[in-house]
Every structure is written in C-alpha cells, then in structure tokens.
C-alpha cells in the first residue's frame, strides 16, 4: 500500500477497465461506470484519470479499430498492468480486513 497513490475514483475506473477487458475504451468505460454509479460522468473526468493512471504505470494502451460512428477515428483500448492488479488485490484485502473488523468493534463499543 506504500507508494500506490490510487484515488477512489481512479480505483473505480481501474476496476472497470479490468472488468471490460477487450472493450475497455473511453466511451464504454464511461457507460459502464455511469450504469453502476447511477449518475452522469463527464468525458473529461474519465479521460484525465485514465491518462493519470497511465503515467503512474497502472494502465497500458494501444489503438483499436475505427468505426463510422466515431468519424473514422480509432479507439484506444486500455489494459491493466500486473502492478495494477497487485495494487487492486492489496486494496481489496485491506478493505476486506477492515470490514471483518467492523462488527467486532461495533459490538464492543456497544457493550461499553
């Protein structure tokens, strides 16, 4: 957990990229996240966090195919790096650990 520096929103985007696999490009990530979060996101916020994570080494990317709907412009498909997956795992473990600690704490607090 030392040098990861992964924000909450970034983590969500990263997880979405991991989940979407071959479909992980800008619009699709936005659509998926909007559906799950149930509120609107701007292209700017998604793109800036993608670029930031790419700089930090959580993501790699390459150009995909172009469609007519995109005015002949290529997609950029994102993929998670092994470093990212490790960090995600770590985060998950830390969270799980914390979650398992909660009921106990709450119970003890209640007694006092």
């Amino acid at each position: 957990m030392k040098k990861t520096k992964l924000g909450e929103f970034e983590e969500l985007v990263l997880l979405t990229v991991a989940a979407l696999q071959q479909d992980a490009y800008g619009v699709e990530i936005k659509r998926e996240l909007e559906e799950r979060l149930k509120h609107k996101l701007s292209v700017g916020s998604i793109q800036s966090s993608l670029k930031r994570m790419e700089e930090k080494g959580f993501l790699t990317s390459q150009f995909g195919e172009a469609t007519q709907k995109r005015g002949g412009k290529r997609k950029r498909i994102y993929a998670t790096t092994s470093h990212a997956r490790k960090v995600l795992e770590e985060m998950k473990e830390i969270r799980a650990g914390l979650w398992s600690a909660i009921p106990k704490l709450a119970y003890e607090l209640k007694v006092i």
């Binding site: 701007s42 292209v43 700017g44 916020s45 005015g71 412009k73 290529r74 950029r76």
Partner: protein, 868 residues
C-alpha cells in the same frame, strides 16, 4: 431523424479542442466525443446533443489533458496573483487620497471614452438598418454653378417613370415628394408634412410596420402613419381602418383610409416620414402637377439595382435623359451629368449634395474627432497622474520589492505584479467610468440636444471596446512605473542607499504637460464664453424684437387677416410677402453682361423693409402703389460688393426680363452667424403670391399682438391651425445651441482642471510629507510662513511659469481656430481670454499648493520630528 449520420457535431468546439488538447490524445478523445454525440442525437434532440457536445468539450479542459503552453503554467501560479491582488487592495486602502485621485481621474476619462463610443456608434449606424442600403441609390445630377460643379439631390419629374420603363436592371423606382397639408381626424387638426411616394417605398426602405401591410399603399386611398403620428391622433388605439381627412387647399380635401402604422423608427436615421400616400395622388390633389414637365423637380428619386455592375450600364445610358432635360430647361439650369449615391453612405455625402432628402452627418463626424481628441487628452491626464503618484510613492514600496527580489522574484515577476495592481485599479475606474458615462454624460448630452443615442449594454462591440480601454489604460499608466521600480538592485534597496521619487525629471515633465492641458482648456472655455456672450448681443441686421409673422395660404386670407390686425392700436405696420427673412427664399440666376450670379430672391411688398427694420444704405426702396416698380430690385451689400462699381441704376436680366437696381440694403443675417451672408435681391411680390404676413408691434406689446394674431386667425379659419410666431423664435435654437457649446466646454475645462489640480495636489502632498522632518527643523529654527512657502513653491514655480507661457498662447490659438472654423461671424478676438485664463489657472495652482503650506504651518514641529 432520417439519417443520424447526416447530422454533424458543431465545429467550433472541435477547433477549440484541437488548439488546447495534447496532440497524442486528440484522435482518441475526438472519436469518443463523436460517438457520444451520435448516441445523444438518438436519445435527445439534435440541439440538445450539440449543446451537450460543446459543454463536454469545455469540461475537457483539465490540466493533465491540455498542452503545456507556457502561459498556462504561468497562470497556474494563481497563489502569487492572489497575493498581488491582496497587496493592491491593501495599497488602495492605505492611501485613500492617492487612490481617489487615481481612480477618479481614470473614471472620468473612461466615462468620456464611453460617451464618445456611444456617440460614434450612433453616428456610424445612421441609416445602416436598411436591408437594401447597398442596392438602393439616390439619383442626383451635377450642374455648373458659378464655374463649380455642384451636385443636386433633386431629380427632374419624368425621370423616375422613364427609368422604370427603360431599364430592366432597375428593380424598383421610388419618387418622393413632400407637401404641407392640414390633417384632420375628429377634433385633432394639425399642420403636417405628407410624403407622396411610389408604393415600392416600403420595399426599398426597411421600415417595419407595427400594424397593417406594406403593399397596401398601392391603393391611392390608403395612408400609412408613423408611430408618433398614430399616437398623436389616435392615442394607443389601433387606427387601422379608420379614416383621416387631408385638407390640401382651400375647401379641397380628401379622405384617406389608414392601412398601416410604422413601428418605432430606429434612432439613427436620416430618412423617415410622418404620413405616406401614393404618388399618384398628385393627379387629384394637385391638378397643376405635370408628370411630364422636365422643368420641374421631385424631391428625390430612388432606384434599387441589385447588381452593382448594372449601375455602370445604367449610368452610361443616362446621356439621353441629359439631352431631354437640357432641351427642356433654360440654359441657366443645364445639367452636366447624372449620378447615383448609395443609401449606405448618403448621410456622409449629404453635406456636398444640394437640396437632397437626406440629412448630413458631417458635423457629427467632426464632433467625433473632437471627442476622440478630448477623451485621449483626459486619459493622458489621468495616466500621468497615476504615473507621477506611483513614482512618488515608490520609495515606500522599495522594501517590499527588495524582499520579493531576495526570495526569488525576477524583474519580470515584479513588473507583472505592478501591472496586475494597475489592472485592479483600472478595473475599479472602468466600473465607475462606465457608470459615469451611462448615468451622467450620455443622459446629460441627450437632454441638452433632445435626442436619443440608443445606447445599450447589449452592443457586442462595446464588450470588445471596454476591455481594450482597460488594457490600454492600465498598460499606458502602469508600464513606466513598473519598469522604473523593478529596475533597482536588491543590495542597494536593502542597504537603503536608493534615493529617488521626489526629484524625477519625468515627473516634472508630466506635471508640466498636465498644467499645459489644463491651461489650454481653460483658455478655450473662457474664449467660448466670451464669444457666446458677444453673439447673443450681436445685431442680426434687422428688427427681431417686436416683429411677428404668420403664414397664410393665399391672397384672400392675407387680406382678411390684415383687415383684422389693422384695427389693433398696437400694430405699427403690416406687410405681405411671398418669402420671409429667415424662413424662405427662392434661388434665382442674375445675368449681367459679363457674369452670372446665383442669388437668394425674396418677393415682398413696399412696407416690408419698414416692418422688418431692414436698413437702407443707399438709393430707395419700393413705392407703395399698385403696379409700381415692376422691374426694380433692391439688393443687399454683399451682392453690391460682388458687382463692383456703383450698383444703383445697374441693369441685369432674370430669364428674359430686365431689372434695374434701385437700392442697396445694409447686410443682414437671414440665417445664423455660422453662415456667410449670401447675395440677396428683393422684388415686388404679386399679390396672389402672398404667403406671409408680417407685423411690427408697438413697444413691448408683442405678446399681446401675438395673441390677437392667433385669435384673429382662429376666428377666420377655425379649421386650419395657426402657423407663425415671433421673429425672435425663428433661429431661436441657434442661441440654445451656442449656449450648449459654452456649457460643454465649461465641463471639459472643469474636468481638465480638476484632473491636473488633483495630480498637483497629490504630488505636493507627497513632497511635503516626505520633508516633514526638514520643515520641522526649519520651524524650530524660526522659519516663518514666508520661508516655508518659498521653500514649497520654489520647485514648482518654474514649472508653473513654463506651463502658463505655453498653455495660454496655445489655447488662444486653438480657440481662435475653433471659433473661426465654426462661425462665419464671431467676436473680435483679443488676448483678453488668454489673460483671464492665465489668472484663473495661476489662482487655482497657488490655492492647491497653499493648502499644503497651510498644513505645514499648522503642524506641530515636535510631532514632525518624532516621525520614524
């Protein structure tokens, strides 16, 4: 939505994005955006999709997505700017007097700039609302007058119709003719001007209708009103379908049906109308109107040609009309060529076209130049105030700059800081200045001249103009202090070995300029005041006081009215005339054996000279019996001077009839002092031509006679409103006008003087404050008021003398030029104006300095020595 891909996203956000976004991200993000756009098109309306698209683009402006432009980085140092703002606000609060001087000066100057802008916009927009302004042309012709080609705006009567028939390229032709009539609806009866036009008028000129339809004018029984006229006769009701009676002669009238009311006319226009009726109405209302008479002219003929190249073709073929015209008229009025003036620039050309329908805006253009000059002067005054005070106070900020430089500020950063401070200050001034302009200068000027400049904040150009003013002003006033102050080295500043600010040569030069400006303005204002006072006393060359006139429609009404007025004991004399001094005249060409003259002709009766108080210089006036002096004329001094030699007994021709000069009148002003006296001849008027009745009242009884005249008129002609008045009211506006000029110059002089005085006050105050210790020591050692005053004034005395020596003569010269430029007749110019202004300026300057001397005298030397 037939095919979503035929809809394209808007282009400007893409261009915007391409400029800002890092290039390596461009393809991907543009593609994403387009994909989302097409999705949105399917889900929402196209408009909403476009709006969302643009909004998303703007939201893409994030630091890690946009290019590394240098200035972006620079702007990101917002923390530093926050500090600059804070420091400038503190500075403003700490020195309220200096801040007031700076902000007030700049605000006044900017207020004048806003006012100048409003006026210029109003002038430039004259007639520009016409959609066809580039395809509608006024037909004009050139004719030789006294050896000079003169352009005329009238047109031979048959030309319009012939143009319409002969040229397929001409889309529309519209003849315009005006007549004075009486309009009657129920109890509302007024004298009015009616415009006879071809039905195409409203097609060629963009005057939208509030009610009714434009093509309804085709019917000869239709009439269209302007909005104010509609309100005048019908109040707020919709008058469409109502009828109005036009009385155009004795017992002659026609009832028109109202088919339209024009919407309010744009404020800046030269051509408009009160009533519009079909041109064909001349066939009924004026039986004598010969449509085929080349000898008569219509007020204006407009043509509409959509293709400008067709105009050249038309122009070439105009020669045959010239031949037609010149064979019909007498050789005096032969024309040399026809030409066309586009509507868009007609108001600018109008000055040089005689008798044209438009109104010249030349004087407005001249005013714009003056206003630009004055606004720039005022801005310069305010900026120099700022510069002087900034330099003088720089000493107090040296430590701050030293510290800033020590912790790493470069010279560029310090300059940026000073300019930022300036922008803050100027923004304040801009706000106040715009308010001053909007609430004070513009309404003030509008109420003086009774017009509306239609100034609005929604004007797009204004929002370009204001930031430009802001930028120019803040840089002009801020760049020198910024460069000057940022120049010093850290070590010298912190050692405290820099001494500057109080003896800066440039400060002196600036102050000197300010004082010169102030002196110029005062001199000019004094001279204008003197001239106005002189003008209001200047004789017009005839009796204005106690003289009255009334307009009459024909001989019989003249006789009836004069029969009533003769009974009044207060009436000294009555006379009848076809023309009247200051109201009307006729242009005539006189043929001498060797030369032709164009003169103004007035036809009058024998009593006219006595009634009007026109003075005879030599010879005699007309004899007062029927049929006398049929071939005699009386001329004025100007014409006599032109002719040379003894004018009495001289013989010349008008057309083919011989006339003899029997008398010479002293010169008098038919028009204002702005215009040269023109050569004038008086002829005996035929009784049926009488249109004016003039009266001379006894002593102070003119108001009684005026009432009697009105009463007599309404008794005789209850149907027709009275038209006439006191001779003093003809050109009464002239006096109001020169009064306004006097006031405007006084305001300018006051502003210039206050700015210069404020600047001087600020400098003297800083100077005296900086020398508190010195003065305290002087006082302790026994210096009296004489010594202290001499000490303070000493360094300004040379400056004052130089400023007065340059300013007063310069102001005198400029004032003389301006007075001569705008008046043909003016006061004899003496140096007294310059002398008076020198005294005023000197008193103001000394008063300003003495406030500070007073402060020094009152101060306690003990507390002065304790400072720091």
């Amino acid at each position: 939505m037939n095919n979503p891909l035929s809809i394209r996203p808007p282009q400007w956000p893409v261009k915007f994005l391409r400029f800002f976004l890092k290039e390596k991200y461009l393809e991907e993000i543009e593609g994403d955006m387009e994909e989302i756009f097409y999705e949105n098109v399917e889900r929402f309306s196209v408009r909403k999709a476009k709006r969302l698209y643009a909004w998303e683009m703007i939201k893409l402006l994030r630091p890690n997505l946009i290019k590394n432009l240098e200035f972006v980085n620079y702007l990101i140092q917002s923390g530093m700017f926050k500090n600059y703002f804070k420091v400038s606000f503190r500075g403003l609060m700490k020195n309220p007097v200096n801040s007031f001087i700076n902000v007030f000066g700049l605000a006044v100057a900017i207020g004048l700039c806003v006012f100048g802008y409003a006026f210029a916009r109003w002038t430039f927009s004259t007639d520009q609302f016409h959609k066809n302004k580039h395809s509608v042309y006024l037909t004009t012709f050139f004719a030789n007058r006294d050896g000079v080609a003169q352009q005329y705006g009238t047109t031979p009567r048959p030309l319009g119709e012939m143009l319409r028939e002969d040229f397929a390229q001409i889309k529309n032709v519209c003849r315009v003719e005006d007549r004075s009539v009486v309009m009657k609806h129920d109890d509302n009866v007024f004298h009015e001007r009616v415009r006879y036009v071809d039905p195409e008028f409203l097609e060629m000129f963009t005057f939208p209708l509030k009610w009714g339809t434009t093509n309804a004018l085709k019917d000869v029984n239709s009439i269209i009103l302007s909005e104010p006229i509609s309100v005048k006769y019908f109040g707020d009701e919709n008058p469409i379908g109502s009828s109005i009676q036009m009385i155009y002669g004795k017992d002659q009238s026609k009832v028109f049906k109202i088919v339209g009311v024009a919407a309010e006319f744009p404020k800046a226009r030269t051509i408009s109308f009160d009533f519009l009726v079909n041109f064909e109405n001349f066939r009924t209302t004026d039986r004598a109107y010969d449509f085929h008479d080349w000898n008569a002219f219509v007020n204006a003929t407009f043509i509409q040609v959509d293709n400008p190249s067709d105009l050249l073709v038309i122009k070439e073929k105009m020669d045959k009309y010239k031949v037609l015209q010149n064979s019909a008229v007498k050789e005096d009025w032969a024309i040399s060529s026809f030409s066309f003036e586009p509507l868009a620039t007609l108001h600018e050309q109008s000055e040089y076209i005689k008798n044209d329908i438009s109104r010249s805006s030349k004087s407005n253009y001249v005013s714009i130049y003056f206003m630009v000059v004055i606004a720039v002067f005022m801005l310069a005054l305010a900026c120099t105030n700022y510069i002087n005070i900034a330099i003088a106070t720089a000493a107090k900020r040296l430590k701050e700059i030293g510290v800033r430089k020590t912790i790493g500020a470069t010279r560029k950063v310090v300059i940026t800081q000073f300019l930022t401070e300036n922008i803050v200050l100027t923004s304040f001034a801009l706000l106040i200045g715009v308010a001053l302009g909007y609430f004070f200068f513009i309404p003030g000027f509008e109420s003086l001249w009774h017009f509306n400049m239609d100034f609005r904040f929604t004007d797009v150009n204004l929002w370009i103009y204001l930031p430009v003013i802001l930028l120019v002003t803040s840089i002009a006033s801020g760049i020198y202090p910024a460069l000057y102050i940022s120049r010093f080295r850290v070590t010298t500043i912190l050692k405290g070995s820099v001494k500057f600010g109080q003896r800066n040569l440039l400060t002196k030069v600036f102050l000197c300029f300010q004082l010169i400006f102030a002196c110029i303005f005062i001199t000019m204002s004094v001279m204008f005041t003197q001239n106005t006072n002189y003008m209001s006393k200047r004789s017009w060359g005839y009796n204005r006081a106690g003289t009255l006139y009334a307009m009459v429609p024909d001989q019989s009404s003249f006789e009836k009215l004069s029969a009533i007025m003769v009974q009044s004991p207060n009436v000294l004399s009555i006379s009848g005339s076809a023309h009247h001094v200051g109201k009307t005249h006729k242009s005539t060409v006189l043929h001498f054996p060797d030369h032709d003259y164009e003169v103004d002709q007035l036809s009058v009766d024998a009593n006219y000279f006595g009634t009007m108080g026109l003075e005879l210089k030599e010879g005699r006036t007309f004899n007062d019996f029927e049929g006398s002096d049929r071939h005699a004329v009386v001329i004025n001094e100007t014409l006599a001077g032109n002719i040379k030699g003894n004018p009495i007994g001289l013989v010349f021709r008008i057309d083919t009839v011989q006339y003899e000069v029997i008398g010479v009148l002293k010169d008098f002003h038919s028009y204002t002092f702005r215009q040269l006296v023109r050569p004038i001849i008086f002829k005996v008027a035929d009784k049926p031509d009488y249109r004016f009745l003039s009266l001379k009242a006894r002593g102070d009884s003119d108001m009684e006679v005026y009432k009697a005249l009105q009463a007599g008129w309404s008794e005789l002609f209850p149907e027709i409103p009275f038209e006439g008045g006191l001779q003093e009211d003809v050109w009464g506006f002239y006096y109001r006008e020169i009064g306004i000029y006097k006031l405007v110059w006084k305001v300018f002089a006051f502003l210039a003087v206050s700015l210069a005085t404020l600047g001087l006050y600020g400098l003297v105050r800083l100077n005296v404050e900086g020398r508190t210790k010195e003065f305290s020591i002087r006082k302790v050692l026994g210096a009296g008021i004489k010594n202290i005053s001499a000490n303070v004034i000493n360094q300004y005395l040379v400056l004052f003398i130089v400023a007065l020596c340059i300013g007063a003569p310069l102001g005198h010269w400029l004032g003389t030029w301006l007075i001569e430029f705008s008046n043909e007749y003016h006061m004899p110019i003496t140096p007294s104006g310059a002398m008076i202004s020198t005294v005023i300026t000197a008193v103001v300057l000394l008063a300003t300095v003495s406030t500070q001397i007073w402060k020094v005298m009152k101060s306690n030397p003990v507390s002065g020595l304790k400072v720091e």
